[in-house]
Structures are given as structure tokens and as C-alpha cells.
Amino acid sequence: MPETLEHPIVVTARIPVSGMTCAACQSRVQKTLATQVGVSDASVNLMMGTATVTYDPAAVQPQALVDAINKTGYEAELPTPERSAFEEQESRDRATAEEFKALKWKAIAAGVVGAVSMALMPFMHQMMWITWVLLVATATIMATAGRHFYVRAWKAFTHHSADMNTLVALGTGAAFIYSVIATVMPGFFLARGVPADVYYEAVILIIAFILTGNAFEARAKRNTAAALRALVQLQPRTARVLRDGVERDVPIAHVMAEDIVLVRPGERIPVDGVVREGESAVDESMLTGESMPVTKRTGDRVIGGTINRTGAFRLTATTLGEASVLAQIVKLMRDAQGSRAPIQALADKISGVFVPIVISIAIATFAAWVLFTPDDSFVRAFAAAVTVLIIACPCAMGLAVPTAVMVATGKGAELGVLIKGGEALQRAGDVTTVVLDKTGTVTEGRPTVTDIIVTTPGTEDLLLAQVSALEALSEHPLADAIVQAAKGRGIAQGAVEAFESVTGKGLIGVVQGAAMAVGNAALMADYSVDVTPLSAEVARLADAGRTPMYVARDGALAGLLAVADPIRETSRAAIARLHAMGLKVVMLTGDTERTARAIAKEAGIEGVVAGVLPDGKVAEIKRLQQAGTVVAMVGDGINDAPALAQADVGMAIGTGTDIAAEAADVVLMRGDLRAAAHAIDLSRRTMATMKQNLFWAFIYNVVGIPIAAGVLYPAFGLLLTPVLASAAMAFSSVSVVTNSLRLRRAHIATEN
């Protein structure tokens, strides 16, 4: 393949190498790499512990390079996604920090020289040499502090493209050339009736203002990525692994699935895993937004990057590297921050044609001033044209939406709400109706035994022992709740001698010699069991949304058990919040009307659609959409996937395993409906911010350019100076980024 191309393709990779302690190690690794086939350049940095290799990917695989280093006795590893995310963030931060520092000093230098120049201006007419000093000072500032404007403008020009630098370079360049001519050969202007004025101090001050604006912008832009940076930094670099009975610290990339990892109190959990032994409280707030530590016991899942608070435990490593929860969140965030919001389309179109149009307006301004005003207008014409070039600010438009998307998705991640991009943000801001799946969303999704009533006092445990023995053999969804209830009370199941499931009615069987029947009134009737002593209780429980079942022992009513899927503690508050935000809330469920009503009443939901089959959810959402509402559907990402896809905004309650694959626009990292309210609230605020930003960026140029051109001069005698224009321009882009950053401080999770 390389032969067919003009230039062979080379790729540069940074490979982390550990174990190098001296210059000799460094040169050894470097030599080894340089002699590999396909490697054109290799340099090893001892301080950073990295090898930078330039190689031909068609001739050598990166893994071969790693193997070559490992053979020399040092440890190398391929960069993993989260590591590369970390490094990218670091290199980006370094670049921004350097940019800020350079801009800061340049701005200070230009500002000081500009101030001195301004102070010298009044004396210029008495002492001609001052003009020459200013010429040299301006040329120096342009060639040093302002150099990059001209270099970049020229480069862009040769590519037939134009950006902010083009405008700055043209504006200051024109003013400078005018001033130089006025200094060197004033007769050229005087002969044509044009005053030979100079604008050196203006050129320096324009450069100073724009540099200051750029410096603030660089710093503010850095902050827009703060949340992503924080996430990337959650990943610990090493893990304490137990192998062959020996504990040792290994780099995170060397941890394998099924490894046993030790976690001490106060440490960050290095990898995703399942607790093997031990118990602790884990702070997952950085990923889920849940402020209370979560208790983790044997068998519970823990997520890499979260903080172990209280106890020590051992875990079995599960998902690693790219598949880890943290890496998936980082990837999702990066994708989201790279996405565009539809609202941006107009700004994008304008950005592409903005600079050439502004240059055209500047030329037209100059011509108009010369043509339509009296003879001495040349200087004003020139100043107005320069002011147009300087005041125009394409950056504010370009920054308006992306900075808001960056800050909002970052803020979302802090709240445990992963928004998959600008479009999702925009739609979530327009939502009018929130549709909730009942099971697992409004409720816990885990049925539990809520009531045990017995006809003979003191026989609760016996009842539970016998019923749970039968239920253990059943496949009914509620059976597990009864088995768990028995386990929870430490009750041993009785021995089952016979078992039969009666479809639609319940179970019958023989446990420890007793003939048992568990089920509804129809089953009891089949065995002529009189249920009247408890029928009032059953009706009451059913009205409360629970599922009661009669238990008969040896042909007589023994009692009843009720099972229910309890409402999540947070649901009521979350629904109240959604209502307070002016949203309509509808609950969908496959339950009967009676149960659904009871749950809805308890949760404070006004709209209920009961008896919905899984594909009925999609139809119900379609019906709402046809009625003109913008629907957000909250449900679990797997069973409700079609409904989530149909809704304008699908919000999946993340199971924490496969975040990226969820068929949703928003992933809620904790099973808490308040997160849905947070997502909508955040989206609304973000849309408001974007609109403000776009409005100001547009209005600034739409109003600023004509004023700079002098449209207010005939009526009000108002003209802007180029220096004032440069200050306005610098302020406009900084203000847009600063406005986006306000989202970081938005009080969204007020109930926490």
C-alpha cells in the first residue's frame, strides 16, 4: 500500500515505558526501537517515561514495538482508551496553559507600550523624533506580540480561507501602513489634501486589547472542559492485585478480568468488579450524582473510579479498559461534546462566509465615506473601514453553542445525567410531557412481601416456610419475593413432597405433610375453602396496589400473603418537581387499572394508562405525539428500548453495565426519577444560554458593524474609534464563553 502513495504514511505513537532509571536505559530503549523494521524515528523521554515512535503502520504493529521494549527488560504497555483520553486532556491542557501564558505576556507588553505611546502622542507635534520612536515601537510590537496574527492570516489566505486573524491583520496592517506613509513622506497625503496623521498608538492598543481578550478566552475555554477533565482523572493508575497469593501493585492496564483486586478504605476503586468478600460504603457521587454513600456487600457491583469510604474488601475484576463504565462515560461525554445542536446551523453557515463579507463591507464603507461626504473625508473613511474590520467578531458566533454544549454535558455528568449530545439537549429542553414506565422507574422494580396475615396467631413463620418452599419451585415473577422474604427472616424452607402449578390460579402441593394451596379466590373455591374471614383484607390490599394471595392448609384458610413492588423513596418528590416545572406526567404499566391507580395515587401522578403491553407503549407515545406534545420517556434501556426510541427524548435508567449501547438520548446513572427532572431542567437552562449567546453574538455584529461603518454619524455624529472597537470585540467573545460557564453553577440538584 505505501508504494501507491506519494508519501508513505507514518503514525506517531506515545508508548508509556516504566522501569527506566538512567540515561543508559533511555538510550537502550531508543536504540531497540530505532532498529525495528518500519520505525523511522524513536525518541525516549526519561522524565516522562514515554517513548515517542514514528512508524509505518503497514510495516509494523504497535504491539510489536511494545514487545520489543519488553524484551529489553523494561515494561511497556499500549496506550489504553482511558489513558489516551487522559493524555489527550493533559496535552490539551498544556497547550491551553502555554497559550494563556504567552498571550498574557504579549498582552502586557503591548498594553505597556500602548500606554506609553498614548502618553507621548500630545508631544508629537513639538518633537518630530517621537513619531519615529512610535513607528519603531509599533513595528516591534507587531513583529513580536502581534506576530501570530499576521502569520496565521497569511497562511489562511493562501488556503483561500479567512478567520479572526485575517480581520485583525488587515485592520492593524492598514492603519500601520497609512501611518508609515504619513511619517516617511507626509507630502504624499498633504498634496492630496489629506492630513498626515499617524495611528501608531491605536495599532498597539488594538493588538493589546485583542490579545487580552484571547487570553481570557483561552482561560475560560479551559474551564468548559473541567467536568470531562475531572472524570478522566478519576481513573487510578494502579491496582493492588492478588496473584498466586502475593499482593502486588500493577499498572491498571495489566489487570485482567477475574483478577482479585484489594481495595482499602479511602482508596479509589481501581476497576469495575463484583465484591467477593468484605463490606463497605462506597461514594459513587462522581458518577451517579447520588450524594449518599452506597452500601456494598458480597455479590454487589462496584464501579472503577468511585471512592471506597469505610471498609476494606476484595473484588473480582469484570469490565476493563474500553468496556469499563468510566471509559464508556468518558467516551459518551466526548461524543456528546463533539456533537452539534441544530440551533447552531445558522451560526455555522454565517461563520463560513463571515470574514470575506466583513472585508467587503469595510471596502464599501470606505468608498461610501469618500463618495458621500465633503472633501476632508478620506481620513474618516479610512478610520471607519478599519473600525469595521476590527469590531467584527466571528469568534463569538462560533463559540456560542459549542461552549454551552460542553459545559452542559459536563454539568450533566456531575449530576449523574449523561446527555448524548447537542440535539438531545435541544429536544429535552422542549419536552412537555414525561411518560414513565412503572416497574423499575416509579417503583423499585423488585417486588417484596409487604403483608403476612394469619388466622392462627403466631404461625407467620410456619406459613412463610411452607409457602416459600412451594414458591421456590415456581417460575412466577412474584415467587422470588416470597423466597427472599423467608431467607431474609432466616426461615428454612420446608421439604416439598408434591407440587403442582394451577395456571391462572396459584399453586398446590404438600409440604412437611401438610396439603397447601396458595393463590386467588378461584383456587380457594376449587378446594371449598371459606375465604370470608380475610376477603375484606384482600380487597383493601388490592386497592393499595398490592397483590394479595390466600393460603390454605389442609383445606382451611391459614392466612394471606401480599406482595408489592414498592415506590422508590424519591419518586414522589421527583414527580412533584416535574409538575412544578409545568410538565405533564403519565405512567404506563402492564398492571391492572386498580393496581396502577393505587401506585399513581401514591406517587402523585395524574395520568395513568394501565394494561399496556410492551408494544402498546410505543403506540401510546405515538398517540401523545400526534396530539402535539413533545414526549420524554423514562424507562429501562433494554425492555423499553422501542418506546425510548419512539419518544422525542428517551431517558434510560442506566443499569451501569452497557451505557453506550442504551437506545436513549439521555442515560440516568442512578435509579432515581429526580435525575429525569434534572436532565430536563438542565436542558432548558442550556437552551436559554445558547439562545442568549447566539442573540448577543448576532446582535453584536448586526449592530456593531453598521455603527462602526458610521450609519449613526449623519444623525447623531456618532463614530467609533478602532481602539474602542477592539475592546468591544475582545469583550464579546469572552462574554459568550463566560455566559456558558454560568451553567456550571446552576442550582439544579437543589433537593440534594
Binding site: R152, K155, S161, A162, N165, S351, V370, G398
Partner: protein, 127 residues
């Protein structure tokens, strides 16, 4: 209208035409054709130096594309490349090559821009 006025008017009109021709018409270069070989993605090095060269890249539809951005300038304007169709917003370290793999591409035109959509390029996938 004096002679000077006419001169200024003619000069201004000419200049405006030249500026717009230079930025909007003269910049249209034919797309560089890139082909994939042996099942590997089509690979192209795009030099980022105040603009993209080649700015326009042509590939066959259905292929993956490896874009190797070789950023040679240090202007903050070009520090990011954005490919909206693939949700890519990638930081390009100055003085280094950054590989972005996208695709397989359905037939169509995929614009890519700098972080603020001022520098522009396109990837054209032909059926």
C-alpha cells in the same frame, strides 16, 4: 461625481469582487481521491496549517477512512477538528499527527470544520 470619486468607486467594486472570488471561488480545489487497499481503511494525511490541504477528500462509499491530521500551526483556531456526522470533536496537538478513523461511509458529502467552523473541508463518498 469627480474623477477621484469614480476611481474610488471602481476600485472598491473591483476589490470586493476580487476578495469574494478569492475566498469563495478560487479556493475550490478538486477533491483528492483516496483508495483503500487490502481491506485496510482508506488513509489520507491532511496537513493543518491555517487551513486543510487537501481540504476535499474523495473516497468510495462503504469504506472506512483514516484521516491523519498533521497539524503544523499553533493557532488556537485550528486546535480542534469537528466532523459533525460522526460526533467527532478532536483536539489536535500542535506539531503532531492525530489519527481519526470514521466510517464505513454511506454515499454522501461529509463536511469537517475547525472548532468554530471557519476552516472547512469535505469528505465525499461516492457510490
Amino acid at each position: 461625481m469627480t474623477g477621484t470619486d469614480l476611481l474610488v468607486l471602481a476600485g472598491a467594486v473591483t476589490l470586493i469582487v476580487v476578495v469574494n472570488w478569492w475566498f469563495f471561488v478560487a479556493g475550490r480545489t478538486p477533491a483528492a481521491l483516496v483508495a483503500a487497499a487490502n481491506g485496510a481503511p482508506a488513509e489520507v494525511v491532511i496537513v493543518v496549517d491555517g487551513g486543510y490541504s487537501p481540504a476535499s477528500v474523495q473516497v468510495k462509499a462503504g469504506e472506512k477512512v483514516r484521516l491523519v491530521f498533521d497539524r503544523r500551526d499553533d493557532s488556537s483556531c485550528s486546535e480542534e477538528v469537528v466532523i459533525p456526522a460522526f460526533n467527532v470533536r478532536q483536539f489536535l496537538p500542535s506539531g503532531a499527527r492525530t489519527v481519526i478513523e470514521i466510517g464505513p461511509l454511506a454515499a454522501g458529502t461529509y463536511p469537517y470544520t475547525c472548532g468554530m467552523s471557519m476552516l472547512r473541508g469535505t469528505i465525499i463518498a461516492n457510490a
